[in-house]
């Protein structure tokens, strides 16, 4: 059997290019996660506020994200906005926009869940001490949710990284796209390179995501 592509991997700057491609995904993920966590805290708190209109709006938002595949959202933003509004959004900004839109909903739901898990009596005893709403959330409620939220936020990072593999569909040159390019360029000399290259991409994703999700699991158990 001919070589399975390991030689292709070390030819020229191929491996470096793969890593650069991976970095593109990670960069998009990290920016989106940071934005999602900040906005998610806000959305989460808003969801616990008693306001029917606000509630309905957030509900529709959450359900949209729950039902629509991220790929569909990506297409709508990338292809749709140009058509309808004439915006010229780059693929990268579209991706960050969509993943933040998605991540904020996920994070918001987690924040809402952990706020709901705090007993009502904690709100009441804060009120009995004369605190207002903002003080209650800021000093009493949110600090108690942190231990629960940190592992879940870390988990969101791995989910985000996995989801960014979709951006190749709107033309961003990330690790999978680079892999395809390398395989294509070496088709003649190394027809079986697809095996080695895709195996390496598989492993790269695993090497990035696995430690992060282990960390999340560890913290979740420790702080449970």
């Amino acid at each position: 059997m001919a070589s399975l592509g390991i030689d292709v991997l070390f030819k020229g700057t191929n491996f470096l290019r793969l890593l650069q491609g991976l970095w593109v995904s990670i960069e998009i993920s990290l920016i989106s996660v940071v934005l999602s966590i900040l906005l998610g805290l806000l959305v989460g708190v808003l969801m616990t506020v008693n306001n029917k209109v606000l509630h309905a709006i957030l509900k529709v938002y959450l359900e949209t994200v729950r039902i629509m595949p991220q790929m569909v959202l990506l297409f709508i933003v990338y292809f749709g906005t140009t058509r309808v509004f004439g915006w010229d959004m780059s693929a990268e900004s579209s991706a960050i926009f969509v993943f933040t839109f998605w991540g904020t909903a996920e994070m918001g739901d987690l924040v809402r869940g952990s706020i709901k898990s705090i007993p009502t009596i904690q709100f009441e005893s804060a009120a009995a001490l004369g605190m207002d709403k903002v003080q209650t959330y800021f000093y009493i409620i949110l600090p108690q949710t942190v231990r629960r939220l940190i592992p879940l936020s870390i988990n969101l990072i791995t989910r985000m990284i996995k989801t960014t593999s979709l951006v190749m569909m709107i033309g961003i040159v990330e690790v999978l796209k680079v892999a395809q390019q390398i395989i294509e360029a070496n088709r003649k000399t190394s027809p079986n390179a697809a095996f080695g290259i895709f195996l390496v991409v598989f492993l790269l994703y695993f090497i990035v995501c696995w430690p992060i999700s282990r960390l999340a699991t560890y913290l979740e158990k420790r702080w449970a």
Partner: protein
């Protein structure tokens, strides 16, 4: 929006929906079976097998479905393992979903207190009777909301099938946009068809969750 275009494209989307559903459900059934077997292996701590299941879960939960599909569809043929695009979709979805289903079933099993097992044992039941009559009915009931969430998650994940040239909803939309540039109509139909596929399950999930939260046996 052009109504005639919508009507013209409708049959193409319908066909794509059917293909998505066909592969989706086969994959989900595979995931369900893997989930049941895997969680039983973990629950009863079967030697050797439990390590294999552990490694399997870590691998498939920490890589994107897209990369899994590329590996199965483009890389495996190079070492002599050839699968059709449809089989690849079912296999990929099933393996990914299995890793999630195992966790769902396992947490259902773990939610049943040990003393329930003991009380069944003190009535003289053997291991199988305890599992079948006492533990499983309770564990599966607890798992239902998680199960439905997994189904929604997996059906959403089918949107990457287009990358291995399966003519699913995503593929159809992309193809039509590329050929005729009727972007708005194509995206509109895409959204509508995903809603048709996922909204009923999502509503069912919400109902079940509500019932699980506010009521139990005897309501």
């Amino acid at each position: 929006m052009d109504k005639d275009i919508l009507i013209e494209y409708l049959p193409l989307y319908k066909e794509a929906l059917l293909l998505t559903l066909k592969i989706g459900w086969q994959g989900i059934i595979l995931a369900f079976v893997i989930g049941l077997i895997g969680s039983a292996i973990l629950h009863f701590k079967v030697a050797v097998l439990k390590s294999i299941v552990g490694v399997y879960i870590e691998i498939f939960r920490n890589t994107p479905l897209l990369v899994q599909l590329f590996f199965i569809y483009f890389a495996l043929p190079k070492v002599g393992i050839q699968v059709t695009a449809e089989a690849c979709g079912v296999l990929g979805l099933g393996l990914l979903g299995g890793a999630y289903m195992i966790e769902t079933f396992r947490s259902g099993l773990e939610a049943i207190p040990v003393i329930q097992t003991e009380s069944a044992e003190s009535l003289g039941m053997n291991n199988f009777q305890v599992l079948w009559h006492v533990i499983l009915p309770q564990a599966i009931t607890i798992s239902v909301p998680g199960l439905l969430a997994n189904v929604i998650f997996l059906l959403k994940e089918t949107s990457v099938f287009s990358t291995i040239s399966l003519m699913d909803l995503m593929f159809t939309a992309k193809d039509l946009i590329g050929m005729y540039a009727k972007t708005i109509e194509c995206l509109f139909l895409l959204v509508v068809f995903y809603l048709i596929m996922l909204l009923p399950i999502s509503i069912l999930g919400a109902l079940v969750e509500r019932r699980m939260r506010y009521g139990q046996f005897g309501d």
